[in-house]
Symmetry: C2
Subunit: 367 residues, 2 copies
């Protein structure tokens, strides 16, 4: 591959800081290992074979993905223990079964009807995780409805081929936390509810794994006793949302959208760049009633600075972004300069950009 | 091309209703023609050569795009009068000049420094539009700052090669309107401000075109006297946001995201589908303090129904969407069914999906 120099970039480009990214991976992996918990990182954030290899090289062999398409992509690059942590889509059943025949594919069951359907068509054993919904109100069997969970267990027990290996849950509620204390409080309640369920299942004769995964709790909390598997994903890059939650420092963020300045308006203290909703995605955080669509950094040789003070992306159009800043920052920049935007939600920015540039080194693939 | 049947879809797929789309194009084109105004539709919404041809077949020859990349794409399929309605990015200047040598390429100037830079490097004539900002606080010369506009005119008058052909402006403020009356009131003030500028420029000896373009005013308002060129874009598909503004009826929306149901939770009156922020984008509208990420329809042979009552996308994750609905709708659907989501912002949904399916006919390209 030819080297690509940051100075040669002319359009919005997602930069990846290899050092920060590897350090994020190592930090979380070491922590999980030290706790004696299995690590099954979620690859939906980076969706990259190249970055996947950094995990592989550390000895990590189990991964999580969020779609069949993503499972196929990683399967093709050699991963062979993959959990699809998304409710099985029975319209794609043939393809699920195809891959289940090739590798150790684990499927998520979140609905009683889908489970019944699967039980009717299987002709060989398959490992499933039952998804439970612990007050996230997204997908999964309601953890407060044991009758429904019992119905699922009944279908499983009658099936010759369905093998229940685990309970999977995701605590969406940590995303509304705004301090480490809130995250750990939320995580504690979440885990305690899961332990009750595990005990209930043990009484019924099921020896199952408990698998949970969110970046805030994996980054912040220390007590996962009783949990068998952790599967966070976003930590590989982190983002401004994770900084707001307290999961990381702003200098841990490993991706940054390089954008060219196309107009400067000193009378408004505003700068317009090429780079919009189609590059960053439209996630935002609210700070003091203001919507913030990204933080702003200066780009350096192989990395970028900490965020510039009193400077942020205040609005986002299809291809424009408008930065509110200070006279000092304006005085230091000219039309045609490249600056960097730290994304609010790096998973969606990576998905929108579809490739990464490791500055002065190489382009890196994305599904 | 092989026909693709809706019944064979298994993953999120953006359906395009050719009849609705062509009718949207014809309606706006006829209206603009009847007003005696030039039509230069913005192709940033559809970004499709295939759909572009529907415009070409009506005799339309001038188009607007929002990036150099998009200009290149349409230039390669035969369009040769293209306005890039985005502030010139001087890092891509060589490529602008390359295309300007091949076709009638019009460039947008929104910043005094970029203009100065252009004036220094040109070696052949180029047509520019000066972008003015009429209280949108996005890009363009502040219309209330004639001193700055005069500075730009001075640079232009000194240049041998820069030919000022028009003033371009976009009224972002119509997007916060919530009735046709509000849109026309906003449009009237916007146009009146532009007429003052045009008169000022005429006094200074500049014979320029006034070019404006937004889908709400182009769809709703009847008086554009004094305007030379209209360049709306979104009308080709419309979306739920445009319905909220009053630009169209919900049955005019020409794209719909087909999504498979993966879980049904009757106790919550909620349905989960495969289809998330990476498919729809995260734009939303607020109705009675609720964030709504899409309306829900049933899919029919070649099209879809009107939106289902009391049913909407209430939350959107990377790959999941959660629909709030009624017991009646739940009773009529099963896991594995396909349903349709009308997007809040069709430009971003089309950009995220990157291709369209005309049901039972063909896949259609997107840049």
């Amino acid at each position: 591959m030819d080297s690509v120099f940051v100075k040669d970039i002319s359009v919005p480009t997602l930069l990846l800081d290899e050092t920060k990214c590897k350090s994020n991976i190592t930090r979380i992996f070491s922590k999980v290992k030290a706790m004696g918990i299995d690590f099954r990182p979620h690859f939906k954030t980076h969706q990259s074979k190249y970055i996947g290899k950094w995990f592989w090289d550390l000895g990590i062999r189990r991964i999580t993905v969020s779609s069949l398409k993503m499972a196929k992509y990683f399967l093709q690059s050699g991963w062979n223990d993959i959990l699809i942590a998304f409710p099985i889509n029975i319209r794609e059943l043939d393809e699920y079964l195809l891959y289940a025949n090739q590798i150790n594919l684990k499927i998520t069951i979140s609905d009683i009807e889908a489970l019944g359907f699967l039980s009717k068509v299987l002709t060989f054993p398959i490992e499933i995780y039952l998804e439970v919904d612990v007050w996230s109100v997204r997908s999964g069997f309601d953890i407060d409805n044991l009758t429904e969970i019992d119905r699922a267990l009944k279908v499983i027990s009658k099936s010759k081929f369905i093998k229940l290996v685990g309970i999977i849950a995701h605590n969406s509620n940590v995303y509304s936390c705004r301090s480490p204390e809130e995250v750990c409080e939320s995580n504690k309640k979440f885990l305690s509810k899961l332990f009750d369920l595990k005990n209930y299942l043990i009484m019924k004769g099921y020896n199952i794994q408990l698998s949970v995964g969110d970046t805030p709790s994996a980054s912040i909390c220390d007590d996962f006793t009783g949990i068998d598997e952790l599967r966070p994903g976003n930590f590989v890059f982190y983002d401004v949302m994770q900084v707001a939650i307290g999961s990381c420092s702003v200098d841990d963020i490993a991706v940054c959208l390089a954008v060219p300045i196309v107009a400067i308006y000193p009378h408004r203290n505003e700068i317009v760049c090429h780079g919009g909703a189609i590059h960053l995605s439209k996630d935002f955080i609210k700070i003091e009633e203001m919507d913030i669509f990204g933080l702003v950094v200066d780009i350096q040789e192989n990395t970028w600075t900490s965020p510039i003070e009193e400077t942020f992306v205040k609005s986002l159009y299809q291809e424009h972004l408008v930065i509110k800043t200070t006279p000092e920052f304006i005085a230091q920049h000219r039309v045609g300069d490249l600056i960097g935007i730290l994304p609010i939600h790096s998973c969606l920015t990576a998905e929108a950009m579809k490739k990464y540039l490791i500055p002065n080194l190489a382009w890196v693939d994305h599904l």
